[in-house]
Symmetry: C2
Subunit: 148 residues, 2 copies
DNA sequence: AATAAGATGCATATTAAATACTGATTATTT
DNA sequence: AAATAATCAGTATTTAATATGCATCTTATT
């Protein structure tokens, strides 16, 4: 059980923007900072833009900034937006299910409840919580300096 | 985010054994019942045998039966045994992590907590709960009859 | 001895995810 | 107006994880 890199990158991107609130950051620079595929990050940025977590501006001097204040960006909401398949087991999706016992099976309930609990925990945290530690800002700055 | 078929099949296998407590069932017949790969199910059976959830006997008249009473088989424990990679994000595993911010990042904590909550819910259920609905027995019997 | 079952290891196929590529669109600067 | 720098969009390719298949070995019963 794991989340996709899509979600992982989404969180990193949001953290980067949260640590640089005074300006627009380009996808290019964020990708370089994390040493991550620029193309993939671009799709992540698109998802986040379409869901309103990020505000994008095209053209020269364009780039990304947060679409909401960090305290308004819930981790659970981001995961729900970026992780498109939260169906834990085959039988969660009637379309693809092949298990003949599914209609009478009692397994779905606890799994659904477990996913709910999982997201409920993430809903208690926001991007602001992720930025609370001053060490992270220093660490990111240092890494940026090293690279340049 | 999803569990592997390995876990899915493990639960189905345990339910089948739980519904047929009076005899040993062969992997072959369970695979046929769910219309599932016999080879894959065999590996699932091995995992469950090695972790004690299932008791296996080789040779003629051999087969599988539950290794413990249904009320002693927790869903959370089964998931932990069959799902080998519960590392939600890359940085959970220091060996494979590539994110340069990981040491200072605050993201790990909420995700770890969320997985914990997820498993805690499953720990509240046992195989006995899954077998509580008489409809499932009927449904399985009917499907078995149809097939033969 | 023959047979029927699980155990084991290796090989292959399938699928989802990640990445790369190409071109289009938009805005700014000169 | 032209050049440039950025995001947006769609498609194709690569890669890795998962699932499946196959061959052989071991064990127990008849």
């Amino acid at each position: 059980m794991h989340l996709t890199l899509h979600t992982d990158y989404a969180m990193r991107l949001l953290m980067f923007l949260g640590l640089n609130p005074e300006r627009r950051c380009t996808i290019e620079e964020i990708a370089q900072h994390y040493r991550v595929s620029r193309n993939h990050l671009m799709k992540v940025a698109l998802t986040l833009t379409q869901t309103g977590f990020v505000d994008s501006l095209r053209g020269r001097n364009g780039g990304l900034k947060l679409g909401k204040p960090p305290a308004g960006i819930g981790i659970g909401a981001v995961v729900r937006a970026t992780e498109d398949n939260l169906d834990l087991v085959e039988c969660f999706d009637a379309k693809t299910n092949t298990c003949p016992v599914a209609p009478a099976c009692l397994l779905k309930q606890p799994f659904a409840e477990a996913v709910h609990a999982f997201l409920a925990v993430l809903d208690r945290y926001t991007l602001a919580d992720m930025l609370a530690n001053p060490k992270i800002l220093n660490s990111m700055r240092r890494l940026l300096d090293l690279r340049e």
